[in-house]
């Protein structure tokens, strides 16, 4: 019973970064953009947030937190924007650029925690803890469920409203189904693609900041154990629907939390998680063959 309880708590904590990354992936995939770079966008978001959150300022949390979140959003949007810019101006496939940007972000993170952002004690490769005022409020007596999880759910709902109940959301979906139609209707594909990439990156960057402020409170090398990659499987499992991905994120959150426990208890290596993700994608593909015949991208 105790294990089950800690599993549930662990899963809820994992829900927020997974959900934010899945939203990023969902948004991009819906528009026919293959953003494989949520991982990198999450990381640069977290780096920017750490820079802002470890300053020796004496601001109130109400002012400072939005500042940190804005910084993370800008960083994530910038990272996504690079891929978007190269896609629309140079016609470079975004799959390759986002993957390259992941590698660059991972090395950047490693450099930051070994160099400019390393803790003042200079002992371990991690940053200082963020300022007390910035820690997100926690709910319940276990003090692990933070307000960011509620935010993630709210953002899912907002994305749902945007995608299915606004003209711009319709444009995004139309572009994913048939970009020529959107082009012929007189909208600039380049503009939509570029902004969509920025928005996608912003979501992931925001998720990175929330994870920093809510859970880890400091930055270190394995800050993201592949949330951005899992997000691809999650988004597909949730059929690229902003509300269904809440369910699939929760499922994966349990898998993540369970894998952690299994590694501690039974010694099953965490690399099996990647196999699980791949298997999920394959199963989703097999189930959805009829639907996949009309591919999202082309």
């Amino acid at each position: 019973m105790e294990i089950f309880y800690s599993l549930c708590l662990g899963a809820l904590v994992k829900l927020s970064p997974l959900l934010f990354c899945s939203l990023a992936v969902t948004l991009a995939f819906r528009g026919g953009l293959w953003n494989i770079g949520a991982e990198g966008q999450l990381i640069v978001g977290a780096i920017a947030a750490t820079v802002l959150a470890t300053q020796p300022w004496s601001l109130s949390g109400w002012l400072w937190t939005p500042l940190v979140l804005t910084g993370a959003v800008c960083a994530g949007a910038f990272w996504g924007g690079i891929a978007g810019f190269l896609k629309v101006t140079r016609n470079v496939p975004e799959v390759i650029t986002t993957i390259l940007l992941n590698f660059i972000a991972i090395e950047l993170l490693s450099y930051c925690v070994h160099g400019p952002l390393q803790e003042s004690a200079q002992t371990y490769p991690m940053s200082d803890t963020i300022h007390m005022n910035l820690e997100l409020p926690v709910l319940g007596q276990d003090e692990v469920i933070h307000i960011g999880i509620v935010l993630a759910l709210l953002f899912s709902f907002a994305t749902y409203l945007f995608m299915f109940h606004t003209a711009n959301g319709f444009k995004v979906r139309a572009m994913g189904q048939n970009d020529r139609a959107v082009d012929v209707a007189g909208f600039s594909l380049k503009k939509i693609r570029f902004f969509l990439f920025m928005a996608s990156g912003a979501f992931a960057g925001f998720g990175g900041a929330i994870e920093l402020l809510g859970v880890s409170h400091r930055l270190f090398e394995r800050f993201s154990p592949g949330y951005g990659f899992a997000a691809i499987a999650i988004a597909l499992l949730g059929r690229l629907h902003p509300l269904w991905i809440i369910v699939s994120s929760l499922l994966f959150a349990f898998v993540y939390a369970g894998a952690g426990i299994l590694e501690r208890v039974a010694g099953i290596p965490s690399t099996t998680l990647y196999i699980a993700q791949a298997v999920v994608i394959f199963i989703v593909l097999i189930i959805g063959i009829k639907k996949n015949r009309v591919s999202y991208g082309h």
Binding site: W34, I36, I82, L86, T89, R90, N91, V92, P93, V95, I96, T97, I99, L100, L101, F103, I104, E107, L108, S110, Y111, H114, G115, F229, I232, A233, L236, P269, T271, T272, L273, Y274, I275, A276, Q277, A278, V279, I281, F282, L285, I286, I289, N292, R293, S295, Y296, G297, H298
Partner: protein
Amino acid sequence: MDIELFNAGLRLAIPILIAALGELVVERSGIINISIEGMMLIGAFFSFWGVYATGVPWLGLLIGVIAAVLMALLFGVFTISLPCDQIIVGTAINLLALGLTGSLFRYFFGFKTTAQLPQISDFFFESLFWFLPLLLFIFINRTYPGLALKAAGEVPRAVETMGRSVRRIRFAAILFGGVCAGLAGAYLSVVHANTFVEGMTGGRGFIALAIVIFGRWHPFGLLAASLFFGCTLALQYKIQALDIKVPYQVVRMLPFALTLLVLALFGQKRGGAPKALGIPYEK
């Protein structure tokens, strides 16, 4: 030109070029396979394991290539027989390869291995490096099956009209890509590093993907591009050896930053990509 630098660059360019040539054939047939990274990793692990278990280098190499081809088979079944989106299947295979090699490696060897393998001379790979582009150039431009391959990537319907099966051509191309990726991975573990490290391909498969674009889908273009890349990488090791104070993360980041820059400068603006690239063929 520094001959030592060139030799080091060549050794770094070999796996990238072999993988890229496989991808060239795949893309020429109209399929985009972003999972060469994963297939290389599979090739690297299984050839290492094969040499370790059998003690016969060439047998190990063969095992690695067969394992990579099995991955390519999986990719082919999903992208051609079903057919599903190539990017998604590619991503899944990359994850599968990462998980499979990582788990098997930990299961068999723990976290690290000091196992030393019998050496394979790199003569085979070096001659492959110089002659494979030539052979592919002749195959693609001067033979009938090569023409059919090109056509499958440009105007698949015309191929079907001629009485050839687009799917069969594409499937064969994917399997060939698997062989190349397997060989490239095997080179990394069995010849170059002489051991296996988790995730040892370190993005080389993705650099190979970029090189196909940079080399404009032409075997000789790929040869030049991979040499350029190899020498630049070698230059970085030299910078490190000269004890110039550069953080090692920056050095590790540079190949990716360079790839990004090259793509930005020589993007697809002027074309050269097969017209039906990434579009599943449906009768």
